[in-house]
Symmetry: C2
Subunit: 255 residues, 2 copies
């Protein structure tokens, strides 16, 4: 009876990864049944695999018994970002102290920006992005800063899709967005005015290493204070170039 009709061609590894992938920012804690449903792994199989993952502390349980990503996975994750990110943090820190604004660092992942670090104060404007969060590129400052330095074919394919419009201010017309990106490229930084969230504006600058934007620094302020953004450009650019230069001298510097 049992074991006969398995779904073929699915590796154990892919199931393990599907189980881990069931967790995301919107669903940080799940029951076993949730995990099975979201990952597409049969319940009994999920049960066994989850038990192994728990044993290794890749997953652990909340007080109420729900599953969460475990400490060991967090610890592993800390090894990921490499030199750039850990070197960037003090710079972000300093930018926060000198400007008093919420600052963050983001990289591109696929067609989205992934927020990899942020520094913020308790009294400042509440900020939407959280570390590890993802947002589309075109409505965000860091997204525009990164997109502007991607190769043409990439930008083209980005613009070719139907773009989300989180607010009425979001620029989604391909032509207008392309012109915006040209401006960003020309001046070296990007602004947004309520393009992602009503009430928030931002300035962002790419971190350029060998001409490629490996990350971007952003500052978010409430839109009432949008007029202060230009004032923030200088410290922003300083920070961006500081981070870029702090990264170890590029190995392939020459021609």
């Amino acid at each position: 009876m049992a074991g006969g009709s398995r779904e073929p061609g699915r590796t154990v590894t892919s199931k393990v990864l599907a189980i881990l992938g069931a967790f995301d920012a919107a669903h940080p804690q799940l029951t076993l049944t949730d995990v099975a449903r979201r990952s597409g792994v049969p319940l009994s199989t999920a049960h066994r695999l989850v038990a192994e993952l728990e044993e290794w502390q890749a997953l652990s349980r909340d007080p109420d018994g729900r599953l969460r990503v475990g400490l060991r996975l967090w610890e592993l994750g800390q090894l990921a970002p490499g030199r750039l990110m850990s070197q960037a943090h003090p710079w972000l820190q300093e930018l926060f102290v000198t400007t008093g604004e919420n600052v963050h660092l983001a990289v591109r992942d696929g067609l989205e920006v992934l927020y990899v670090d942020k520094v913020y104060g308790r009294r400042a404007v509440p900020i939407v992005s959280r570390t590890g969060g993802r947002l589309p590129m075109h409505p965000t400052g860091v997204g525009k800063a990164l997109l502007a330095y991607e190769p043409d074919w990439f930008v083209k394919s980005y613009l070719a899709r139907k773009l989300e419009r989180p607010t009425p201010h979001t620029i989604i017309e391909p032509g207008r967005l392309a012109r915006e990106l040209a401006t960003v490229r020309a001046q070296g930084y990007a602004f947004t005015y309520e393009e992602m969230t009503l009430g928030s504006c931002s300035a962002a600058a790419p971190i350029l290493v060998d001409g490629r934007a490996v990350a971007a620094v952003g500052i978010v302020v409430s839109s009432r204070r949008a007029r202060e953004l230009p004032r923030l450009v200088d410290p922003l650019l300083n920070t961006a170039s500081g981070i870029a230069n702090a990264s170890p001298p590029s190995s392939g510097s020459g021609p």
Copy 2:
């Protein structure tokens, strides 16, 4: 010839986890051969599993082709620590701003402390611990703060082992250490004087939720400035209780 003499009883999952476990703070980037050697997984098997992990961005490759923990794993890890840690960060930030000292947050994992967050300035004393780092409990401030609130049986078994002695100042005599812990418990905070690293002192306070130390906040200063530690106790305790209270009202508060 092939496939016959496999090592039995090892699940695929355990191999995947062993491969991930091959990465640690001392070995953040590895070649495939390293991974196979460190994880005990045969090279050809490691090759296949690593390829699957790469496809999912659980692992990725450095410019020079060596393997690293990938972005997706970092992203997953961000979901791990739950409310406490993300709520703690602004408090740490503030403690750093008011004191100007290096501050960090640690939790107990097994017999070690795991540093889960830190805030530091560029000009301050260089700090040994890095996020995700592990240290033994008895020579560190946060370690003592955490150990002091563990149940008796745990402390007993901790003291029963032969304790490491990273510096001549490290307290490793069980009796003396037990007395030290009693003091910590009595006064609510811990000091260390060059017990982990020559040249560094620290003060630390536990974050108590329902009488259990769920984490600890620490401040590190250079030992020349050890006399300033007492002055730092008040802000430290404020921070610790602030973090503790900021966590959502405990569900099982009163019997």
